[in-house]
């Protein structure tokens, strides 16, 4: 369906997007995950046709869109600050795109009602948008974008301004709506929890480049780079040096890790120490240290060691105690 091919964009000599390529398949939700300033929103505006790229192509069903103005692209866009029209009420906001398409009034009414129902705002049609709460405004923005039955839906940080419980509720609601609508969707966020909840596939953006792409399970299991592991908070990172095949010297001692890529002696690598204790029999590596701090987290304890590493354990430990835990260690790039 949507294909983005080798997009470049610079702003005032600063590279904003650097050779971005990806596809979105029919009914698929992909998530652009990245810190603020990583170029996510710019990418959406370029796909929508509201900004131009310096080079590269945006294609839909194989047809190139460069010369198609934004209002003819049929792409729904939900803005971060919603961008609801303040002089129109909820109904009129949702009807806007349909009016632009010169659809008969009867059908407009019908589709506005359906869209509002989908976001559970059926009774809100005559309200002023400025009287709505943040969560309600967010849902009106979504209804407005869905009402035109877009060929592609793009959502920019929709939950950023909302408080935590509202976010979780809306996130689940959004997931169901996207599944129901079966519209290919690009969802932009800086929140990994959001991304992993909603996405079929995650693209992690860093300094205008896609540094990792894959399903949530794949990305989680196999971050591939130190940046992704750190960004997702997957565990403790260690600098290591190769001293023999699958043997690494670190500040924490020697580790034995099976590595996918070939290394020669003396190479520097990053090691990821997952913070979960594993079965001692199968794992070759142990994390040693003195307990510095312990935080109770419902079903487990987060233990911080004096050397800065952390690990999750089922049992409480005493502060000042020396412990040794078998851990899973992975080799990154």
């Amino acid at each position: 369906m949507l294909e983005v091919r080798n997009l470049f964009k610079a702003y005032e000599d600063k590279s904003l997007l650097n050779d971005i390529s990806f596809t979105v398949a029919e009914g698929e939700t992909i998530c652009l995950l990245g810190a603020s300033g990583s170029g996510k929103s710019t990418l959406l505006l370029i796909i929508a046709g509201l900004e131009s790229s310096d080079s590269g192509l945006v294609l839909f069903n194989g047809l190139e869109l460069t010369n198609t103005p934004p209002h003819l692209r049929d792409f729904g866009l939900v803005f971060q600050d919603y961008a609801l029209f303040p002089h129109l009420n909820v109904n009129e906001n949702v009807a806007f795109g349909l009016r632009m398409r010169r659809i008969r009034q009867v059908e407009i009414d019908e589709r506005v009602a359906t869209s509002l129902e989908l976001v559970s705002l059926a009774e809100f049609g005559n309200r002023k948008v400025n009287d709505l709460s943040g969560g309600e405004q967010q849902r009106v923005a979504l209804a407005r974008a869905l009402a035109i039955r877009p060929r592609l839906l793009m959502i920019d940080e929709p939950l950023g301004a909302l408080d935590r419980t509202l976010r979780e509720d809306l996130l689940n609601e959004l997931r169901m709506i996207l599944h129901q609508a079966k519209i290919p969707t690009i969802y932009v966020t800086h929140d990994q929890e959001e991304a992993f909840t909603i996405a079929d596939r995650v693209l992690i953006l860093h300094n205008g480049e896609i540094v990792r792409a894959g399903t949530p399970v794949d990305v989680w299991a196999n971050p591939q780079s130190a940046f992704v592991a750190r960004f997702l908070g997957l565990g403790n990172l260690l600098d290591g040096e190769v001293i023999a095949e699958n043997r690494f010297q670190t500040q924490q001692g020697l580790f034995t890790v099976e590595c996918d890529h070939k290394h020669s002696n003396g190479d520097k690598v990053h090691l990821l120490v997952r913070p979960l204790a594993t079965d001692a029999q199968r794992e070759l590596n142990a994390l040693n240290g003195i307990v510095a701090d312990m935080i109770f987290q419902q079903d487990r304890f987060k233990i911080t060691l004096e050397n800065g590493f952390y690990i999750y354990l089922k049992e409480a430990q005493e502060i000042g105690q020396k412990i040794s835990v078998q851990v899973k260690v992975e080799c990154l790039a």
Partner: protein
């Protein structure tokens, strides 16, 4: 998945409407500027250059011409300096009063002092005439006194009446942002009252003082209607001299020479003013002082007396005009014997009668209709030229930084000079009544742009992008997003244009045909003709114009964005 527009549709539409996407941002900007700049080129810069060219004509540089120019220039400076001094004399205590004291009717009195600034010059001139003139209220009602104000003093007072609000606004806002604790600190450090003022209060006020002084001086320097109508033939400033030389003496080269001298002077003052405004704006501290009630009896007496003086000075001329328009105080022309003095509605009913029936005589109601239709056309034209310019200026690029001062230039040049430029450049079309609204548009355009621009800038770009992504074409975006949100600002801008056109006097007097007079031109004619009926009709028309202007001021204040459109 359902689709409302299939891709084939998009492809075919692409060829037609894809043009919008192909238009580069630069080309878009140039398209926006095309209309306003063409208008300015034809109706401002070309006439201006023709005036210049005429000055270079050898016949302009004669000893006699320079003598006339010198005496006009000297008197212009003299009256402007004196008027400015008097304005400061009234304005500074008033500014202090409004900034520091709280009293009943404070905001009403403040609004009252601001009204004259927006009134057409003929209305102010007629008001002073109705109060102090030979046929005015004082001279006719208080009989033994036989009091007639000297014309020169009437000019000065009218200038003070006009411009005091500038001092109150600029100096007052600087004063109220000045922490009174500074003065107290100075006293605690051993400064007496005078030294406290001199060293602590005055220095931060200096830019505001200079800015308001220059602005008042600039307005007094280019004053036309007040001097022509109140001063009679003996007092000629540069403005009046340009008019006399161009219309009465038909010496266009001399008029052009005077106009250039005038332009150079106003340009210098404008540049100085802009510099001081920039500095005055920097100095404003965010904290403001709350005005307080007067405490001691001495303080109370002084303040009450000053409030009385201030309110009478502003109220009396404004009130005397409508009062004079409904009282017969002198006999009509040709009326002998039985004259009913006192209350009358004749002056208003006479407006609808064509008493003389001559070819060149136009009944007042016709002048009113002319004025209204000119004003209507001015509104349309100034929105037509103002909207694209305001759109471009709301999101300024490098281009706009150059064009912004250029488009504000007509503000700095006098109305009489604009009229002179029209006469020189388009003399053969002067028989057409269409030229007048173009001149009015020129005067109104800076105000219209400055009203629309902040409103346009206040619309988030996101809203336009959202509309565009929902399928609105660029025109539909403007129609459905910009226009509805800008309705209030558009109304304010239209009212500005309408009011300016209704009251415009200088340019209109030069270029309007005798058979198409406007209300101000008709008022001038009536004022200068003998007989009680003519005078009464002048006051009646001026009263109507005043009512329209005050109504417009209220509309503008209601619909303008707060904190916008300071000039």
């Amino acid at each position: 998945m359902k689709q409302t527009i299939s891709h084939g549709d998009v492809q075919s539409l692409k060829r037609v409407k894809g043009l919008f996407a192909l238009v580069s941002p630069w080309l878009g900007r140039i398209l926006l500027w095309l209309l306003p700049l063409t208008f300015l080129a034809i109706f401002f810069f070309l006439p201006l250059s023709r005036v210049f060219a005429l000055t270079l004509n050898a016949s302009a540089f004669t000893a006699e011409n320079f003598k006339i120019a010198y005496s006009a220039l000297r008197f212009t400076f003299y009256q402007a300096a004196l008027s400015t001094f008097l304005t400061l004399l009234l304005g500074l205590p008033s500014a202090y009063l409004f900034a520091r004291y709280d009293f009943g009717g404070r905001s009403i009195l403040r609004a009252l002092t601001a009204i004259p600034f927006m009134l057409p010059t003929v209305v102010v001139a007629a008001s002073f005439n109705a109060l102090f003139g030979q046929r005015g209220l004082i001279n006719n009602l208080i009989h033994p006194s036989s009091f007639i104000l000297h014309p020169f003093i009437a000019i000065l007072l009218a200038h003070v009446f006009y411009n005091t609000t500038i001092v109150i606004r600029i100096v007052g806002s600087a004063l109220s942002s000045l922490d009174p604790k500074l003065e107290q600190a100075a006293h605690s450090l051993g400064a007496n009252s005078f030294r406290g003022w001199w060293y602590v209060v005055l220095p931060p006020l200096r830019p505001a003082l200079l800015a308001s002084t220059l602005l008042v001086f600039l307005f007094d320097f280019t004053s036309f209607g007040v001097i022509l109508l109140l001063g009679g033939s003996q007092y000629t400033t540069l403005e009046v001299e340009i008019y006399i030389q161009a219309i009465k003496q038909l010496k266009l080269p001399l008029a052009a020479l005077l106009a250039i001298i005038q332009l150079v002077c106003t340009l210098i003052f404008s540049i100085l003013y802009t510099r001081f405004v920039a500095r005055a704006a920097q100095q404003l501290a965010p904290r403001s002082v709350h005005p307080r009630k007067s405490k001691t009896i001495f303080e109370k007496t002084i303040i009450t007396a000053f409030i009385f003086l201030l309110s009478s000075f502003f109220l009396l001329p404004l009130a005397s005009l409508p009062i004079r328009s409904i009282f017969r105080l002198e006999a009509d022309r040709g009326q002998r014997g039985e004259v009913q003095y006192g209350f009358t509605t004749d002056y208003y009913t006479e407006l609808f009668v064509n008493r003389r029936g001559s070819v060149f005589y136009v009944p007042p109601i016709q002048a009113t209709l002319n004025s209204l239709s000119y004003a209507g056309v001015t509104v349309v034209l100034s929105l037509l030229f103002g909207y694209p310019a305001a759109f471009a200026l709301a999101r300024p690029s490098r281009l706009e930084k150059i064009l912004d001062p250029l488009i504000m230039l007509p503000l700095g040049s006098s109305a009489v000079m604009l009229g002179l430029g029209f006469i020189i450049s388009y003399g053969k079309w002067l028989t057409s009544p269409l030229l007048v609204p173009f001149a009015h548009t020129l005067v109104a355009l800076p105000f219209v742009i400055r009203t629309l621009q902040p409103a346009i800038a206040s619309i988030p770009q996101r809203l336009r992008q959202a509309a565009s992504s929902l399928g609105a074409s660029p025109f539909e975006v403007w129609k459905n997003i910009d226009f509805p949100i800008l309705r209030r600002a558009t109304l304010a801008a239209s009212t500005f244009a309408f009011t300016i056109s209704l009251g415009e006097f200088g340019a209109t007097l030069l270029i309007s045909r005798p058979e198409y007079p406007t209300i101000p031109v008709a008022i001038e004619r009536f004022l200068l003709q003998p007989g009680g009926l003519n005078y009464g009709q002048a006051t009646a028309m001026a009263s109507i114009l005043m009512l329209l202007a005050v109504f417009s001021i209220l509309v503008i204040e209601k619909f303008r964005l707060p904190n916008s459109g300071e000039f």
